[in-house]
Each structure stands twice: as C-alpha cells, then as structure tokens.
C-alpha cells in the first residue's frame, strides 16, 4: 500500500488486515497503523522495489495532491512514482496492481450527469495535479496485461470521519464564516463515504485477475447517491455541529473569482492552498455524478454505507473528537 499516510490508504489497509491479508505500507512519514512500514519516496525506484518484494499485489495510492507546487514536483511524484511501482511489480512478478486515480483526470469543466469514466485528458498546463494524474493513469492502464492486471479506480470526493481534506476544510471555512455556496447549491453531486472507497479498492484487488473485464480500465467510484450540494454541505456541517449559514455566490462570478484568486494566491502565499480556485468553483457549481453500473458489473462492488449512515458516523466522530 503506497501513500499509507492518507486516510483512504489507511482505511483500505485496515479492511485488508481485517480479512486476514498481510499489508506492507510505503510512505514518507508514519502511517499510524499496526503493520510493517517502509518509509520513503515513490520516486526512489530501489526503495519501491524493496517495499514490493514479497507482495502479491500493490495498491498505488501515493500522490502529490492540491494545487501548490511546481509541475516538476507533481510530475516526478505522480508520473515517475507510478512508473516505478509498475516496473517493480512487473519485475517482482506481482499478480496485480490497483492504481488510485481521480475523476479530475477527465475533468471537462462542465456538468457530468450520469457520466461514464471518460478517457483521461492530457495537455493541460493550468492544472498540475489533474494533468500529472491523467498522464499517470494512461501509463498505468496502458501497462495492463493478463500477465500483470492493472485497474484504475477514481474515487469521487471521499469524505468521512478523520478526513482533513473535504470535511476538514468545509468545517474550517464555515467556522471562519468564509464558506460560500456556488450557484445556489442546486447542482447534484455524488460523493464517496470513506468506507465505500476502501471497499472499492479491495474489490478492485479481488477483481483484477487475468481475463477480467476490468483489466486496463478506469472506474469512477461513488456512493451512487447524488444530492444537491447544498444539502450535502449542510449535512456535513450539521454533523460537525457548525451552524453557520453558507453565503451564495453565482456560478459565473465564482468561476471568474476562482481564476483570479488562484493567480494572486500563487504569488502571495505560494505554500498555501487558496480559498477558492476555478476548479473548486466548477466542482461545487456544476453537477458531478456518474453511472454506477460499470463498477458494479465489472468489479462486483456496491457501496455498503449510505450517505445518511455516513453522516451519522461523522456526527458520532465529531461528538467524540
């Protein structure tokens, strides 16, 4: 399991351990899990080979995320790192690879309504994360064969207890009174509760056998319960015990403002994530939901935790936290 310090990798490892698999974690820091750990960078091919030696399969979740950083950083970690993992897997004779991708590799900037996992779009110069992940996904699925089955999984907007990305930022902004809803919050957005994302990675591991339909393909993973984004955000804030009322910003304004903020931020505070980006404005202001059937048919996977159950878990976590 590469990228072991992320919530998704940790929860997936826990699920694998719980059913009796043995797991080795690879990440730069500490994975906070009771399993053997290799510490280091996926850019180090020798280290990757060391970590994978003796494994049957690898889940490659390590990645540089966010919008802060140079293209070279994103490229070397996300593209070269993926190449290292696949090369080691092939060399060591592993039986399968699950590559953790993102729906933003096919990000089209318009509404996605019951969409399928479109082919990755490359050639963008304004979105280092999406561009590097798209190049890496192409590389990964292109390397798939019956000798080394590879499946790409694109979890869409993962959230849950302990999540510092989506939930953490929403709550932080709402508490600071800086949360704005784009376009009235009517856009239907599907999301993925953390346990479902983890079970999907496990399902992909199990499904990636020679001859399977999923080999060399990418699947979007989500709860299959699109909701108006306003309802989702209100649900998460309610679970966190935050009562702030989000402001409403028209979509066009948000898109323009996002572009401007991104540019100013990049100069003023290059090491911090800006509060609004064009990408975020699009994500929040237009519909994003997917056809659940390919993952169900090819991976045999269905989500087991509903949004309402997830929100209850989240509330319990905040209450205990």
């Amino acid at each position: 399991m590469t990228g072991g310090s992320s919530l998704l990798a940790r929860r997936t490892a826990e699920a694998l351990l719980a059913r009796g698999d043995e797991v080795v974690m690879l990440q730069r820091g500490d994975a906070a899990i009771d399993a053997p750990q290799v510490r280091g960078d996926v850019r180090d091919a020798d280290l990757v080979r060391t970590a994978l030696d003796g494994c049957d399969a690898v889940v490659h979740a390590a990645a540089k995320v966010g919008i802060v950083g140079s293209w070279e950083d994103f490229r070397s970690i996300n593209v070269d790192g993926t190449a290292n993992v696949i090369a080691a897997a092939r060399e060591l004779g592993l039986s399968r690879v699950v590559y953790v991708s993102t729906p933003s590799v096919a990000h089209a900037g318009h509404s996605l309504v019951g969409a399928l996992a479109d082919a990755p779009v490359t050639g963008r110069t304004d979105a280092h994360y999406a561009e590097s992940k798209a190049v890496a996904e192409r590389l990964a699925v292109g390397a798939a064969s019956d000798a080394l089955p590879i499946v790409a999984i694109r979890p869409h907007l993962v959230w849950g207890p302990g999540d510092t990305q989506l939930v953490g930022r929403l709550v932080e902004r709402a508490r600071a009174g800086r949360l704005a809803l784009v376009g009235g919050g009517t856009a239907l957005i599907d999301t993925t509760y953390i346990d479902n994302a983890a079970s999907a990675l496990v399902a992909a591991l199990d499904a990636a056998v020679p001859g399977a339909a999923c080999i060399g393909r990418a699947y979007v993973i989500a709860n299959g319960e699109p909701r108006p984004i306003r309802e989702l955000i209100e649900g998460i804030l309610r679970a966190a015990g935050v009562t702030a009322e989000p402001k409403v910003v028209p979509l066009r304004l948000a898109l323009g403002a996002g572009s401007v903020v991104e540019k100013i931020w990049a100069r003023a505070k290059p090491d911090e994530e800006p509060p609004l980006t064009r990408f975020l404005a699009e994500q929040l202001g237009t519909a994003h939901w997917f056809d659940p059937r390919p993952a169900r048919d090819d991976l045999g996977w269905r989500p087991t935790v509903t949004i309402d159950q997830g929100l209850a878990e989240l509330a319990a976590w905040f209450a205990a936290y």
Binding site: S111, V113, G114, V182, G183, G184, G185, T186, A187, L188, G224, E225, P226, R227, P228, R230, E231, E234, P250, L251, G285, T286, A287, W289, D291, P292, R293, R296, T306
Partner: protein, 866 residues
C-alpha cells in the same frame, strides 16, 4: 460532358457518408452509348446474406445523398443502392432526357449493377415517378414499392405545384434552374430549418457550376403541364397501370411539403389501395433527411416484405391469419346503429336535448327530423360515403344533430378537441384532409383564413350561409331528397383528435360497429335505460345521449375551461332534464364542490355521477357524493382509443386504501386487460407479466378503435400481437393488476424513471408524497441518462419560490418515498405551480418538469418554462 469531380474522403465523412459507399460504374445504355453513373451502395459483410435489395432514386434537384440515412440504417442487413440519375449528382452530364428515357435509364443501371432478385424500389420527388414507371413494367421483380413526397399525376382539383409551375414557365426555367442556384437552393430552403447544417453543403456539392445544373433545368422542363407535352402520355400510362401493382407499398410523407402535399399522397393511396401510409407532421419535402423515414422503412420492411429467397415466415403468417380471424368477424351480430334509438323515438315528443346556454329544448321528434333532414341534405349536396366532415360546431343541438346526420349519411366525422389550441386544431383538420366542413361562422372564417381545408365544401350554422358556405344546416333540413342508404357496420364513422399528453395529436379512427359497441358497453356497465337522463359537462360525452336513447344536456360552461363549471350551472342543467346521470371532468367536479352552497334538491334524482379523463382526487369524489346523496360515484378508466376499459366505484376506492398507484378498478364487461413487460418489443408476440408485477397496460375490447389515421408506424407500434395472434392496444400507461383483479395505474410509460436499480413508476411516489401535509401536488421525474437516472421529486407547496425545497420538506419527502416504494430520492425541488394539461387541469407534464429539473440540478439558474 463529364460529371463534377467526386468529393474527397474528407467531404464524405463531413457529410456523414462512409467514403467506401461511393463508386462509379460505366453502364451500357439503351440509347447505344455508355454513361458513367455514380452510386452510393452498402451491403452486409460478405459472409451474411442480405435480407433483400433496396434501390433508391432521388428527384430533382437532389442526388443519392438524400438516402444516406436510409443507407446507414439498413445497409448492415440489406443491400442498399442509391443511384445518381444521369445528369444529376456525380453521374455523367448529358442532354435532356424524357421521362420514358429515365425509366429505361434506371433499368439500364439496375442491370449493370447485377441486381437480379426481387427489388424494393424507393423513390422521392420525380425519382418517385421514375420508380413507379419501372415498377409497373417489372412487377415480377418488384418486392415492394416505397414512395416519398412524390406523385404520378396532378390530383383532381389541384393545380400543379406552384413552385414547379413557376420554375417551368418558359424562359424562367433556365434562369431559375441552370443559370442560378435558385431551384437547388429553393428546394433546400423548403426544408432548410429542419436540415442539419452539415448536410447543406452536401446537397449543393454536385450543382456548384451552371454547367452541372443543366439537368436540373431539363428535369423541370420535362414536367408536363398539359397533354401536348412529350412525357404526358408516358406518365398517364404509368398512372393508369399503378393499380395493377400487388407488391406491398408504403407511402411515407412529410406533411408540410408545399410541393408534393397531402393531396398527392391521397392520390397515390387511391391508386394503390393496399398501401400503408405514414405521415410526419411538420416535416417538409426532404423527408428522408428531415425525419426518421429510415426507421419507418426498417419497421415496414420487417413487417410487410419477407426476406429475399424466403416465403413469408410460417409464424408470421399464422399470426396474421389468426389476427384476421380474431379481428374481422364475418358479420357483426347484435349490431345496432348509433341512430337506431332516434328512429325508434321518431314520434316521441319527450325532451331529447337541452341547450345549456339558451335553455332551448329539442324533442326526440324534432331531433330525429333534424338529423334525417341534414343527412338527406348532405347527400343531396353530394356527400359520398366515406367522405370526411370536420365538425367545427360548438356544443349545441346543432353539433348533436350534425354528427348523427353525417353518420347516417355515410360520412366520417372529424372531431378535434378544442384543448388542442388553434394550431393543433388546424394540424388535425389539415392532416385529416376533410372533404366537408360544418362549422359556426367564426370557425369557418378561421378554417378559410388559415387554409385548413382548401377545396372542402362548407356548411354553416345560423340562418345564412356565410364564409363561402354552400348551405346552412337549416337549408339542409328542408331537403326533399331521399335518405341515402345507411353505412355498413364496418364502414368508417369517425376520426377523433384529442390533446395527447405526450407527442403530437393523432387522429383515432372508429368504424360504426365500434361506436355502437362502445355505446352498448356504457349501457351495460352503468345499467343505463330509457329512464335515465344525462348531464355531460364534458361535451363529447353528451353525444352519447341520442345513441343511448336518453335525454341529454350540456351545462352552461366555457368548453375550453371545464374547471369553471359552477354548482349553480350544474344544478340548472340537472333540473332541465331531471338528470339521473352526471358526467364531469375532475377539474369541473372540483369547482362544483368549491362553489357549492350545500345540498341542492336539483341533484336529488342523480343516481350515478361519473368523472374521468384524468386521475380523480378521492376528496373530490367524496365531496361530490355529499352533494348528491342518491348518487353512486364511479370513475371510468379509458382513453380516446378505447373507452371504457375499467371502472371503479368510490366504495372500492375507499375499501382498498393506499396502494401502488391509482386504483382504476376492474375491467368492464367485455374488456380485457393485459400487463406486458416494460419496454417490450412490439415487433414480437407479447407475453403477460405475473400478477402484481408492474408493466405496460394493454387493452382489448370490441369497441377498440380501428387505429391511427395515416400514421402507419405509430399504429403498428401501438397495436402489438400476443402469442394467440390477438391484437392489443398499448394504453401508454404503466401499472399492475393486484391479487383481487383490480387494475392500478402507476403513470405513463414515457414517464417511467429508469434507475440503475430498475424502473420506478411516478404515481406511487406522488401518491406517497401528496399525503404529506402542505404538499398540494407533486411530480416524480427522472434526471440523467436512461438506465442510471436518479429520482427527483418536484412539489407544489403554495410557496412561490422555485428551487430546492426547504430541508424539512425534503426530509419528509425522502422518508415518505422510502417507506412507500423503497427508493432513494436524489433531490426535492419546489415550484410555485406544476404544468398541467389544458383539458383536465390535472395531468402533469412530467417531461417538461424533468427538463427543468435537470437544468436546475446541473447548477444552472433555470427559469421554469411553464
């Protein structure tokens, strides 16, 4: 002279044509020369045997490109060849050729292509005339004849198409056709708005240079406008031989073609009486690219033309003969004409009809006199059996008398619902091609101004013939002519247009025996005897009165706004005939309840109150029952094509409580209901689903209408056969039959939400949602692609704000839907008001709601379009 240079592979692809379809061949001509032809040809893979061979011939000034949609659709199973006529498209440019030469040219190229087996010949415009010429001469090789916006002779009473007349007028011909692109572009322009932009350059491509357009001019010049023209005799000869064709024939028509309009279609239909006719409303001259001609052709070939080298398949012919046996009894036992009761009461001074607006009553004696008088008068004026008569008369004794008179005289009444609006009414009257119009002066003025029925004879109501009318109804009554022979039970009687909740209005054809059976079904279902008297707040229902032999009246209400019927107006109407039966739409009843001031003695004799046409709220039925203490409340279920199908008394509705949908009761005596799988294939024998399973509701009764007027493909899709070869009617509704044999309706099949977990029907969702306090009306719709749609509920709460519903309402809706149908709801939207149909004010246009919901839920700021 050589043909224009062939398009490049890139051009072909831009135009939606596979470059491999295009080829040229040198053809030895009957004229002794050799000419190079260009054709588009496609056939199945070499390993597969084609189902048949189709030859398509374009007209002037198009080319084989006209058929590219047909080639795309059928070329994987059939060998399809579309030729460029000589001088046209990318074939050789030659001197002028006559009609007879063109027919022989076609035979030359068919021979050179080596097409030997039986051929399906398809022609458009003057290519249609060429195809007809070939077909009459080669009937042994003709598998089928398909004609599209074409002709063989100028129909009687019609002048040649004015556009062509203008173009063919001496020196104009050369200017319009060759020296300028006027004719080429003009033809395109006739259909311009409906032709996708990428097709337009393709149509122009072979006619860019004046030299390339010579044949366009010559072709126009070859259209004979008088008998002295060299091609006149040849065309007349083919026209005369056309009735000898026995191969299956299809007339597929763009109904808005100003050149080859409906009159040409009907002229051909008269020459080919066995032909199937399919008209496309609002489609023009270039129908093969404007409309799905390819799809209709595909379905028609499958049904009518057996695959090459095989006789009609045994199963199909068995089914067809069984269907014939089931649907065409040799005689009609028990048939009593609709006017028989009028004959019986010819001397009866009792009231037959009361005009609600004026209070004037007409006795049975007077009504009989009037009906038979008008029938004699129409016959004397020249009404022939089977001629169509548009009834543009407001509900009144004039309407009642005129309808029965037309039936008695053997005419076919064309009745259009005012709810269609002026545009829909016009399309209906025009589409029906009526021979006569009977109307009030205002209606005749509209018909004349809007050219609904040019050339039709007009008869007006009132005291003087106006608006070009040849007579008034009163004039006809005074006719001294003898009564014409009565029509036979299987003769056509009526074409009814109603405001379809979905799609364009379709004319529904009825024969006399079907109308008579419908009357008998109503009498049997509701125990109607001569002791009953009827108040019909839905005007067409009042027409049943004379057939049932009972007095009837229409209350004083604006027919276009049934929801304005007041309790006082209904009570006055009941008093005027001492009513025992009341029929009113749900909207009308709701207003009666609203405007009522308590129990009214004038309702005391009402034994039966009927409400139908749309789902009737139970609260309205209960309130009506309170107003009419002696009345049993019933809701018939049915449709324009078949009424009644089922019936449910209020007592049953109360007893069954809430269920999956709206309970419409049990089939009435003589009616059968059959629930077919959702999305079943109408082309194969349909099998019923197990009881309790949701499916599409099919019905079958002796009073089922004949079919749809001039819409072959729609009629075929709407009337599937079961394994026993019995023909059923698709109601368009979805529902199920419960363990007690009660039919529950769950919505329209086009409104079913197709989620990734399976289909969800809207009505059970709405029924559950509307039980929530504060929700007036709701619509359950699907958003997203079919197969992974999500369920969205749009509610009307009285609040005048469109958008996401407040959190508390959303939560109650989600809970209610989960409890009732175990379905997740993606979003709950609220609107100030939901769109409803004009006629009933209750049927929600869910398709429109879904379109709006999808935009809102994509994040757009969408104003609702209603």
């Amino acid at each position: 002279m050589s043909a224009p240079a062939l398009p490049t592979a890139g051009d072909w692809q831009d135009w939606g044509v596979d470059p491999s379809w295009s080829r040229t061949l040198d053809v030895a001509s009957h004229d002794g020369g050799t000419h190079r032809w260009h054709v588009l040809e496609r056939r199945p893979a070499a390993t597969e045997r084609p189902l048949g061979t189709i030859v398509c011939v374009h007209g002037n000034p198009t080319w084989s490109y006209l058929w590219h949609r047909v080639i795309r659709r059928l070329g994987d199973r059939y060998q399809v060849v579309a030729v460029d006529q000589l001088g046209m498209g990318f074939s050789d440019r030659l001197g002028p050729r006559t009609y007879a030469q063109r027919v022989r040219d076609l035979d030359d190229v068919i021979g050179a292509l080596g097409l030997e087996g039986p051929l399906v010949m398809v022609g458009h415009d003057w290519g249609g005339a060429v195809v007809q010429g070939w077909s009459v001469a080669h009937q042994d090789r003709l598998a089928g004849l398909v004609l599209c916006n074409t002709g063989i002779a100028v129909p009687a009473g019609r002048r040649a198409p004015s556009l062509i007349r203008l173009a063919a007028a001496g020196p104009m011909t050369d200017l319009a056709c060759r020296r300028t692109r006027l004719f080429v572009d003009g033809t395109m322009w006739l259909s311009w708005q409906r032709i996708p932009a990428e097709m337009r350059p393709a149509f122009r491509a072979p006619y860019r240079r004046a030299a390339d357009r010579a044949a366009v001019r010559d072709f126009v010049a070859d259209v004979p406008f008088d008998d002295r023209h060299p091609s006149s005799a040849a065309l007349a000869d083919v026209a005369a031989q056309l009735p000898t064709i026995t191969a299956p024939a299809l007339l597929v028509w763009g109904a808005s073609d100003p050149v080859f309009d409906d009159s040409f279609a009907l002229d051909l239909a008269a020459r080919l009486p066995h032909a199937d006719l399919h008209r496309f409303d609002r489609i023009g001259h270039l129908a093969p690219v404007e409309a799905d001609v390819a799809g209709v052709l595909d379905a028609w070939l499958a049904e009518r033309v057996p695959p090459a080298g095989r006789a009609t398949s045994a199963a199909a012919s068995a089914a067809a003969s069984a269907a014939a046996a089931a649907d065409s009894p040799a005689d009609r036992p028990g048939y009593v004409p609709t006017w028989a009761a009028l004959d019986e009461r010819a001397d009866d001074p009792a009231v037959a009809f009361v005009d609600g607006a004026t209070g004037v009553s007409t006795s049975f004696h007077e009504l009989h006199q009037r009906v038979m008088g008008i029938a004699r008068g129409l016959s004397e004026l020249g009404l022939r059996p089977g001629e169509r008569v548009a009834m543009l008369v407001p509900p009144s004794v004039d309407l009642v008398a005129a309808v029965y008179a037309v039936w008695r005289a053997g005419g076919v009444t064309v009745v259009a619902d005012r709810g269609l609006g002026l545009g829909g009414l016009g399309r209906a009257v025009r589409g029906a091609r009526v021979d006569w119009v009977i109307g009030a002066p205002e209606a005749l003025a509209a018909a004349r101004a809007l050219r609904w029925a040019p050339g039709a004879y007009r008869v007006s109501t009132g005291s003087k013939p106006v608006m070009g009318a040849v007579a008034t109804l009163d004039d006809l009554v005074r006719s001294a002519a003898v009564l014409p022979p009565a029509p036979m039970p299987d003769d056509p009687a009526a074409v009814l247009y109603t405001s379809g909740a979905t799609g364009p209005a379709k004319g529904v054809r009825y024969r006399h025996h079907q109308l008579a059976a419908q009357r008998d079904a109503l009498a049997a279902t509701y125990g109607i005897t001569r002791d009953d008297r009827l108040v019909a707040a839905f005007a067409p229902f009042a027409l049943y009165g004379p057939a049932l032999g009972i007095a009837s009246t229409i209350p004083d209400v604006d027919v276009t706004k049934p929801g304005t019927l007041t309790a006082a107006a209904l009570a006055t109407a009941c008093e005027s005939v001492d009513a025992t039966i009341v029929f009113a739409s749900p909207a009308a009843l709701a207003n009666v309840v609203r405007t009522s001031t308590g129990v009214d003695q004038r309702f005391s004799r009402v034994r039966l109150a009927l409400s139908a046409g749309a789902p009737v709220p139970v609260a309205t039925l209960r309130a009506t029952a309170a107003l009419m203490p002696a009345a049993e409340l019933h809701t018939p279920y049915g449709m324009t094509e078949c009424l009644p199908v089922a019936d449910v008394p209020l007592a049953t509705i109360d007893a069954v409580g809430h269920g999956r949908g709206v309970c419409v009761g049990r089939p009435v005596p003589g009616a059968e209901v059959f629930v077919a799988p959702l999305g079943f294939d109408a082309a194969t024998a349909v099998v019923a689903v197990p009881p309790g399973t949701t499916g599409e509701v099919l019905v079958r009764t002796p009073w089922l209408s004949d079919g749809y007027d001039r819409r072959w493909a729609i009629e075929r899709d709407a009337r599937p056969l079961d394994a026993a070869g019995r023909r059923w009617h698709r109601s368009g509704d979805v529902g199920h039959v419960d363990a007690d044999g009660l039919l529950w309706i769950e919505g329209r099949s086009v409104h079913v939400v197709h989620t990734d977990r399976g289909p969800v029907t809207p009505v059970p969702v709405e029924v559950a949602v509307e039980r929530i306090d504060g929700i007036v009306r709701s619509a359950a719709v699907g958003v997203g692609p079919v197969g992974c749609q999500v369920l969205v509920v749009v509610v009307e709460t009285g609040a005048d704000a469109d958008g996401l519903a407040p959190a508390s309402i959303a939560a109650s809706v989600r809970d209610a839907v989960r409890d009732a149908v175990s379905q997740p709801v993606a979003a709950v939207l609220q609107v100030g008001t939901l769109p409803v149909d004009i006629r009933h004010n209750t049927k929600i246009d869910r398709t429109l709601v879904a379109t709006w919901a999808e935009r809102v839920l994509s994040g757009e700021r969408a104003k609702r379009p209603w």
